[in-house]
Symmetry: C2
Subunit: 187 residues, 2 copies
């Protein structure tokens, strides 16, 4: 028979609870690694795109193009968000409780992961389409360094998206655990 | 105390099993509606983009542009996939079992939902970026009908993405149920 109460914080069996805590901690370390990776990639992508402005005086600028502005904005948002989530993750690992109330934290993480993963992918795809158009025109012949920096920035953005997508799978699993069992613990 | 066995097919309590079945059926109807909506939108998007070729003889064609080819391909894939998933969904509602083995079906649905949602968003973002570039050039002044049809096609693609994203949330929840409880039933 199953108990009708939700299975909060690993149950009342102390052994079960310890195993749960260890598994949860491993899970949280994995999330932290993904957050760190997505933070570094999107920060690098942001910096690379901004650094195109340090080229020759009459070279094209990223802010002259809608799609590149979108790439810069999306990467900045994702970098800030990942930084915040790293803090929340370290907090959870060290104090064994979430930064906000559990239900708020889980929905916050999952909702933002999903939305920002789609945002970043959308920005990078738009950036790629524009970069391909510029390659077909004279811009990239005259300003090759600009195009290469843009390409690197977009590629780094895609890497950031990949890690954010992985984080969103993990936070989706946590919220599903919470809905099904009333706790983010999956054991 | 919790039973160590996984909670398969709604448990052994016949009342509980009936309630689960009813809830599962409602859940499946919701998925079917999302599948139908994403099928219609992506098929419409596909047809709209192809129909740009029926304009004046010297008008630009969708297949002259990488990004528009990507939009056509992604929408065709999503339309076919949604059609297949509608069949699988009707099968599950009418026979109360999945088309493939349960575990295969759940991972198949979730994996493809995620991948194709990202694919479609990426295609539509690239298409949007290109459409904006064309608007800034002379193409849209000379061939206004072409640009309008492209815009409609891309907008319909975004609608398809939205419904595919909702489906992916539901199929993600089903796979999480399966991982946590050993069954796609969430009650």
């Amino acid at each position: 028979m199953r108990s009708p109460q939700p299975h909060r914080n690993g149950g009342d069996n102390p052994f079960h609870s310890t195993v749960s805590l260890r598994k949860l901690r491993r899970f949280n370390y994995l999330i932290l690694v993904f957050r760190l990776a997505s933070f570094s990639s999107s920060l690098a992508s942001f910096v690379f795109m901004l650094s195109t402005s340090r080229a020759a005086a009459n070279s094209p600028r990223w802010y002259h193009f809608d799609a590149f502005r979108f790439v810069v904005g999306a990467n900045a948002i994702v970098a800030l968000y990942s930084l915040f989530e790293m803090v929340a993750s370290v907090w959870e690992i060290s104090r064994e409780s979430t930064l906000f109330a559990e239900v708020v934290q889980l929905w916050f993480d999952f909702g933002h992961d999903q939305a920002f993963a789609y945002l970043l992918l959308s920005a990078d795809s738009a950036g790629t389409a524009l970069a391909r158009v510029l390659k077909g025109m004279d811009t990239c012949k005259a300003w090759n360094a600009f195009c290469i920096q843009v390409d690197i920035s977009i590629a780094l953005g895609f890497v950031g998206f990949l890690f954010l997508g992985f984080s969103s799978l993990l936070s989706g699993f946590r919220i599903a655990c919470f809905i099904i069992k009333g706790s983010r613990f999956h054991l």
